[in-house]
């Protein structure tokens, strides 16, 4: 039981540490959706965004290789779940100016009421969606 809580705890501490370091060194908020949009829409002063995103992919690769931790099992869901989920996530984070990292970790850390409201909203929407898909539509 202890194990199942320790890795989320350590992972969360690393995410928090990274967010603090990015603010301390570059003065930027570690909001992944904002960084991604800035990178692909060719904002000025963009190299830090691309380098952050490279790190976001290389970091997990090194972690899994160096610690011989197996990759998580691939999702059993059909490909169109990924398509619909991805479209909604991208549309929603752009419209709502942030995701789990920007609103959830950094915005709440910065005591932003806007981010707190956004976080409660997307958590509630996620919980409701899983309830509908797993428990209401199941067996239809």
């Amino acid at each position: 039981m202890l194990y199942s809580y320790t890795t989320p705890l350590i992972g969360g501490l690393l995410i928090g540490l990274s967010s603090v370091a990015l603010l301390f060194f570059l003065g930027r908020i570690a909001g992944i959706s904002g960084i991604v949009w800035g990178a692909i829409s060719a904002q000025p002063d963009n190299s830090w965004r691309w380098l952050f995103l490279v790190g976001l992919v290389v970091g997990p690769l090194l972690y899994h290789q160096l610690t011989a931790t197996p990759y998580p099992t691939a999702s059993p869901l059909e490909w169109w779940y990924a398509l619909i989920g991805g479209l909604l996530v991208g549309f929603g984070v752009k419209l709502g100016s942030g995701c789990t990292s920007g609103h959830g970790v950094c915005g709440i850390g910065n005591l932003s009421p806007r981010s707190l409201v956004a976080t409660i909203t997307f958590m509630a929407a996620g919980i409701t969606t899983v309830y509908v898909i797993r428990h209401l539509l199941e067996g239809l």
Partner: protein, 136 residues
Amino acid sequence: MHGVAALLCGMVFGVGLAVSGMTDTAKVLGFLDIFGTWVPDLAFVMGSAVCVTLVAFRFVLKRKQPLLSAGFVLSGKTALDGRLLSGAAIFGIGWGVYGYCPGPALSALVYLDSKTVIFVVAMLVGMALANRMGST
């Protein structure tokens, strides 16, 4: 130095996502399934991350400027408007459909699953659509 700091921050962030379990869609959907067999572990991810930012952001933002650049770039937005609420709701629905939010989806690209590629491409298209809507 600027670029090295960004790369290292990204790496630590990505390792955090992979260690925490956020790159595992089954765990994420299990966490959101509070009316089924709820797996509460991932609450500790945002919980511990927010504990760090809540305390440390105070000290960082008391400084005149960041160590390697001219100023802090923070969102000046304060409005609790329809865009914020509907955007967050639509994002949450997408998160519940597949189990990825933006960061974990990008980190999970290293697992080389074609559905993750579909998710990420669709996410970029979704962002572009919202951007087009917002500018008209």
